[in-house]
């Protein structure tokens, strides 16, 4: 190759993109180049191509992380990412009611008092470690008890003005997609078996929600009516 005098000052956007991708530029020049990425799509394209090539420098690299790393990462993530779950909820339901931690604590206390209906007491006393949630909002309170051993989901709906609408319970796991847990009997305690697919998502910390649906429940697989109550599932003991 012939020597090219002054090559270091040759204006060449593609080379600038390469220099940015490889980290060759001093801070000021790099910042100016980064600003261009936002407004100059040809430059951004060149940068994307060089970035992919630069990543190829790692082709021969690799080292297996020790087994404790992944649990350590998971432990640093909230049990249920409120930000994600709530953002999802808001996307579906403009007026989603935020869960109240205070209400949850109060609710668990209430739950631990003698329950009004005999069949609920028997569920609470189930031998496996049950989970509870108190879903609260302006509309009222719904208490939920889930027994993983039997798959039974018990509920008490209290003070919820539903009109002619059905009360449908949902679990919203970390992927943000609600799964129906079925319709709740109104104005009385009751229980039913949790649908198997949704039951898998019933873990401590997961968000539950109640929506008001047409009689018979949502036919779309997602909440169609207003989400009036939300709360989190927690270990009962």
């Amino acid at each position: 190759m012939t020597d090219t005098p002054g090559l270091e000052d040759l204006p060449d956007d593609d080379l600038l993109a390469a220099e940015l991708a490889l980290g060759l530029l001093d801070a000021d020049t790099a910042n100016a180049a980064r600003d261009r990425l936002r407004i100059d799509s040809a430059f951004a394209h060149a940068h994307a191509r060089w970035t992919a090539w630069a990543a190829g420098l790692a082709a021969e690299l690799g080292e297996t992380p020790p087994a404790h790393i992944w649990p350590a990462i998971v432990a640093r993530i909230p049990a249920n990412d409120d930000q994600v779950a709530n953002a999802r909820l808001r996307r579906w339901q403009g007026g989603a009611v935020a869960a109240s931690l205070v209400a949850l604590v109060l609710g668990i206390t209430m739950w631990q008092r003698p329950a009004p209906a005999p069949q609920i007491v028997s569920v609470v006393q189930a031998p496996s470690a049950p989970m509870v949630a108190v879903l609260s909002g302006k509309a009222g309170v719904v208490s939920v008890n889930y027994d993983p051993a039997s798959g039974r989901l018990a509920s008490v709906v209290d003070g919820l003005d539903t009109g002619q609408r059905a009360v449908e319970l949902w679990v919203i796991p970390a992927d943000g997609r609600p799964r129906s847990l079925g319709l709740l009997p109104q104005s009385r305690a009751g229980w039913h078996s949790a649908p198997a697919a949704a039951a898998r998502a019933l873990q401590p910390g997961v968000t539950l929600a109640v929506s008001l649906e047409p009689p018979g429940g949502s036919t779309t697989g997602l909440p169609t009516g207003p989400v009036v109550l939300t709360g989190k599932l927690a270990q009962a003991s």
């Binding site: 297996t64 992380p65 999802r88 992927d175």
Partner: protein, 196 residues
């Protein structure tokens, strides 16, 4: 105007040797809070990313700490990944490289040791046999880096893995900034021709 959505921006790591959803898809699912997808991304990429961290931060414990931070960032910021701008693997390697270099700089232990430097640029010797083989992008880069002068290839690797700018490279090879900049630019032009 061309959009950066063509397959050439893929660095060749996300290809079809995996079963199930693509890594790109898995990373997009992480953006919506999918923990299973997050575990899948970790399973597929953590060996590579720890390799990147260790290349930049030789001390094992420090590299592992940065690896954890990187995946927490992946969890929180996966929404910033844009598949039209490049592959998930490129995004992850770039993130890992930048985090590890930031850590290196913050620690004040940035390498300053001299780099072996040959003033004479060796003529490239095209390897016709290898050229005839179809290469994916990562293999092509390895091949093309082998085609350029070894000092130049070393300088490019040092820039990427040690966060060394032109100025710092010039200091470490004890040559004028203009000389180094000109030389690396010439190498990048050769690289571009080979990669095209």
């Amino acid at each position: 105007m061309a959009k950066p959505s063509d397959a050439s921006t893929n660095s060749g790591f996300s290809g079809g040797s995996f079963s199930g959803p693509s890594l790109d898809q898995a990373l997009e699912n992480v953006a919506s809070g999918d923990r299973e997808a997050f575990a899948e991304v970790y399973r597929r990429t953590s060996v590579k990313l720890l390799g990147v961290c260790r290349r930049i931060l030789p001390e094992r414990q420090e590299a592992e700490e940065v690896l954890q931070d990187i995946y927490l960032t992946v969890w929180r910021r996966a929404g910033a990944f844009d598949a039209t701008r490049g592959s998930a693997m490129t995004w992850l390697i770039t993130l890992a490289r930048n985090r590890a270099v930031d850590r290196l700089r913050a620690s004040g232990r940035r390498p300053t040791d001299p780099i072996e430097y040959a003033d004479h640029v060796a003529d490239p010797t095209p390897d016709a046999e290898t050229q005839a083989i179809a290469l994916d992008d990562a293999e092509r880069l390895t091949f093309c880096l082998g085609q350029i002068d070894s000092t130049d290839a070393g300088l490019i690797r040092t820039a990427f893995f040690e966060g060394a700018t032109y100025t710092e490279l010039a200091e470490r090879v004890a040559r004028p900034l203009g000389t180094i900049k000109s030389r690396i630019r010439r190498a990048l032009i050769s690289l571009r021709e080979c990669l095209a």
